[in-house]
Subunit: 146 residues, 2 copies
DNA sequence: CATCTGACTTGACGTTGTCAAATCTAGGAG
DNA sequence: CTCCTAGATTTGACAACGTCAAGTCAGATG
């Protein structure tokens, strides 16, 4: 129920990083690559369930944590609430609609970290700057006017 | 158990915005002003409890939501997890330590919103750009070396 | 001081994330 | 190919965070 080439690619990428290509890892990473976009842990669990491949919730939590540490996936900073993960190959930021809460990727000017440094003195060494753009998406603006 | 002048100021600021100066609002907002920094709802509840002023958790949730809509306090974007609130008078960003998770304010270059606009085309109208700087604070760096 | 509307309170509940202990398996050694 | 073992998965229970609805209360106005 998951695209075979996505699973193959997932398996390869896992091994390239020295990670054991276990079933949950291949499935979760393959699914994230196949679907694209931003997904919560429980969303992934439900998606796998729907496709007839039940995976324990805890396993998905373990997988996303491991994959994130290896840099294969990233956690999208979108403010408080559930964590959203995405399989992404390059550094970017996010736009969040205040109405529908939809998250959209926004390219980073530099494309590498850190793309911004604090003005003046920071309280530590900065290695990454995540930007969250907030506003109202065009779809919601259209709905508001009707 | 809360600084009287903070409570007075809180009461005044609430009325200035046309908000009813109810007990929970004055207490929560006064406490946030007195303490400074970033605090979760449950942290505020515990703080009030410790000071002998029990306030229902739901009331604090209501208060922070109302105050945020009025612009008296802001919710600090610090990634997934619990929401952190702060009584702040000017727009700024945050530095989050990867080790101790401590949140520190970082001044905004412009000091007004939106201080950044997405490169190229955004999927909507941007009215605000929150930046989260991540890294390791100097205190944790010192601990790591010992 | 009376009134009324908005705010507070209460209790219960759904979701998200974490922990520890037992079981299993991917991948290398023989 | 088979065995072995460190590492990963699974299970169940639990804690933290946030939300909902219905009933009660009190701040602001006249």
């Amino acid at each position: 129920m998951i695209d075979q080439s996505s699973l193959e690619t997932a398996r390869k990428f896992l091994k390239d990083r020295g990670l054991r290509a276990t079933n949950p890892r291949v499935l979760v990473y393959g699914l994230l690559r196949e679907m694209g976009g931003h997904h919560s842990v429980d969303g992934l669990v439900a998606q796998l369930e729907n496709r007839g491949i039940p995976v324990p919730r805890m396993s998905v939590y373990n997988v996303v944590t491991d994959l994130q540490h290896s840099g294969l996936i990233m956690c999208a900073d979108c403010g408080p609430g559930r964590a959203l993960y995405e399989a992404s190959d390059e550094w970017h930021h996010h736009f969040v609609c205040r109405i529908c809460m939809e998250v959209t990727d926004v390219p980073c000017i530099l494309g590498r970290k850190p793309c911004l440094v604090p003005p003046g003195s920071a309280p530590g060494t900065v290695d990454e700057a995540q930007v969250i753009f907030r506003g109202v998406c065009y779809a919601c603006q259209a709905k508001l006017q009707s």
